[in-house]
Symmetry: C2
Subunit: 242 residues, 2 copies
């Protein structure tokens, strides 16, 4: 098929389309953290309209010349002071009435991190920024409640098939810490010996020559996650599964 497109062709078409180009795009960043005890999520209090004073997932409108993936990092940093972290796209919410200021479609990302590493500080139009236990969350701005529920569900599913749990822990951790994390996320309990055997048999943990410090009992060996090894296994078709 031959292509004939003059510049005026395109201009005409662009005009016809003008009515379609009235959307706003935002990104929302669901950041999960773990403090060794509970699973938490990073929230802000909105200091600007709409929904001023409401709890919200950190998020903001994307600029016309800004890449969406990039926007997540900027927004998260602007509002909470968190540095560049890897955020994975989750899904997109686009109900017609979800935003009172116009038609805004929001792309939701999520991340997991060791919350002891970073302390959030509110900035820009965020009046507060803090961690909150998942089960203590009430009303939220926009459809953020719904978004958060989708993120939690995704986490439950994902943690059973990929070793994402490690992102929530310090670089070096004990098997008991890892087990407690999984038990928290999945709300179950595992046999200690068998959990250990299963984890170690996957060959994605590197045992270190270090021991836990400052505990009042036999100290446990520390391990770290072997990202390279994990990727090799995935290449070969191995699937991490609990």
């Amino acid at each position: 098929m031959m292509q004939v497109n003059t510049s005026s062709d395109l201009q005409e078409e662009r005009q016809r389309l003008d009515a379609f180009f009235r959307f706003g795009i935002s990104v929302d960043c669901v950041v999960f953290g773990y403090d060794g005890e509970n699973l938490q999520v990073l929230l802000i209090e909105r200091g600007a309209e709409p929904y001023k004073g409401f709890e919200a997932i950190p998020g903001d409108l994307v600029s016309l010349n800004e890449d969406i993936d990039q926007a997540t990092k900027r927004v998260l940093n602007d509002l909470t002071g968190l540095p560049d972290i890897y955020l994975e796209q989750l899904s997109t919410f686009g109900a017609v009435e979800r935003h009172p200021m116009g038609r805004v479609v929001t792309v939701v990302y999520y991340a997991l991190l060791d919350k002891n590493l970073y302390n959030p500080h509110p900035a820009s139009w965020a009046s507060e920024a803090y961690w909150k236990n998942l089960d203590e969350i009430g009303e939220m701005a926009f459809d953020h409640r719904q978004i958060l529920e989708a993120a939690v569900q995704h986490l439950h599913h994902k943690v059973q098939h990929q070793p994402i749990g490690f992102e929530l822990l310090p670089e070096e951790f004990t098997l008991a810490q890892l087990q407690h994390l999984y038990e928290t996320i999945l709300n179950t309990s595992f046999d200690k010996g068998n959990f250990r055997k299963k984890m170690l048999s996957m060959n994605v943990l590197i045992p270190l020559d270090k021991m836990q410090k400052e505990v009042r009992h036999r100290p446990a060996r520390l391990y770290r996650f072997d990202q390279q090894r994990y990727e090799q296994l995935v290449q070969k078709g191995y699937l991490f599964e609990l």
Copy 2:
């Protein structure tokens, strides 16, 4: 925190935001089909600028007052004549330069179906609409090549954890057909007896009192997928896995 928002407050804010509300949103529908032999995908040839004459995934701009999920059904029907089918959201592509007519963020959906049931007919600005084998696809419009690859990868992953294979088959099918489908998608082969045992032990297949017809050997029993039973199992925490 007290909320004070007069109507003029909001108007002011809306004006400040005007520069952000210049995005276009589109939906793209990756529809996979299976003809008993190969895995295929539904494509159109674009009959309008930009990328006139190129192969593309069926998709179009969303209207300002149109729900995104709804838009998928309209678009797919407009371009290819396919009726309402269930489409699942996959992910969103928003690179700055992905569309030559402006900033367009596209939300990608996908569906699976028995391609013998529906015959695509091009309409609206689609000059062609047809099924094509996955391994015979060349250049495509926009970033559709990239989108398609993401969809295929998602399919590979998903088929191993959810019984989506059934959507690609006729309502009534034999275990051999099901096995061949899985072998095609995953590009492997399974032991016949063990595949049968595994599938049946999941209790999501209803054996029918019907047999295959018009084959020149012992006819196989027909089964159908038990959606209800599957949902019950998922509720109870059971996870379908190959």
